[in-house]
Amino acid sequence: MNPGRCAACRYLRRRCPPDCIFSPYFPPNNPQRFVSIHRIYGASNVAKLLQQLPSHLRTQAADSLYLEAQYRMEDPVYGCVGLISLLQQQIHDVERQLAMTQAEIAFRARHPQAVESNLLNNVGNPSFSNQASSWFM
């Protein structure tokens, strides 16, 4: 038994050659990393993918594969695509808030005399911002 085998070769129960494609990225002290990737992608697919990349990019590739594999194991239906959807929704929401806030700024700049004390209650109030933005339509 070779105590210097990488996590991949240990899991696959094979000899770990000196030029093993997996060993720089799957050290023996983190067996779960290879197990996750193997479960989602398969060892041969990962080997092919890494081999097709220049060596200075393989660490990032292994890291991103591991991250995606973790997402997929946690959410077998959507994987990391669920997070992408969520981020896209967040962008949409913040863009909408930003547009409303900028409309409110423009309104206040053009109508300083119209600001009364009760308007202070409407900061961040969507219906007020909608009204303000509609005055520019």
């Binding site: 479960r39 989602i40 992608y41 398969g42 041969s44 697919n45 993918l49 097709q52 990349l53 990019l57 990032q60 590739a61 890291d63 991103s64 594969l65 991250l67 995606e68 997929r72 077998p76 239906v77 959507y78 994987g79 990391c80 695509v81 669920g82 997070l83 992408i84 981020l87 896209q88 967040q90 962008i91 929401d93 913040v94 863009e95 808030q97 930003l98 806030t101 900028q102 409110e104 700024i105 206040r108 700049a109 300083p112 600001v115 004390s117 202070l120 209650n121 900061v123 961040g124």
Partner: protein
């Protein structure tokens, strides 16, 4: 599906397409590319295992997300979907910062237009704030804003659901 019309998966794998073929509902024969990319990235047996472990009504969505991920990985073999996530997280951060600046500007406009009212009722501007210290903080924030420093988020009423921890740490630049 089945019979004399094999699905795209069985065509690619060169096998008989059984009546209960797990791939057939999701990989029709008229779109061979779809299965080809999923097979290239994940492997047919892994996809089959994934689908078998899911209830029927979730399999279509699972296939769609696998196709999306596989496409992303083929387009970007180094980062795959993770590259898109990183990009979107940056966008969210930038937009949140722009929103913070815009909200600070409103606060300062209000301070200029009715400082007495605002100082007496900081919670009206800060939303959730109910602490006397917020009045002092509000004045400081406007001072900072006037000096082009909008990095403080104490006066920003951004919903907690927008805050997300980074998924990379220091791993991906």
């Amino acid at each position: 599906m089945g019979g004399n019309s094999p699905c795209a998966s069985c065509k690619l794998l060169r096998r008989r397409c059984a009546k209960d073929c797990i791939f057939a509902p999701y990989f029709p024969s008229d779109d061979p590319h779809k299965f080809a990319i999923v097979h290239k990235v994940f492997g047919a047996s892994n996809v089959s295992k994934t689908l078998q472990e899911l209830p029927l009504q979730q399999r279509a969505d699972a296939v769609s997300s696998l196709v999306y991920e596989a496409n992303a990985r083929i387009r970007d073999p180094v980062y795959g979907c993770v590259g898109a996530i990183s990009y979107l997280q940056n966008q969210v951060s930038q937009l949140q910062m722009q929103l913070a600046v815009a909200q600070a500007e409103i606060v300062c406009i209000q301070m200029q237009q009715d400082p007495i009212m605002v100082a007496a009722n900081p919670q009206m501007v800060l939303g959730q704030a109910d602490d006397d210290d917020q009045a002092f903080l509000l004045q400081n924030q406007c001072f900072n804003f006037a000096n082009n420093n909008a990095s403080s988020s104490a006066y920003v009423n951004i919903h907690e659901s927008l805050k997300r921890e980074s998924i990379f740490g220091d791993k991906v630049s």
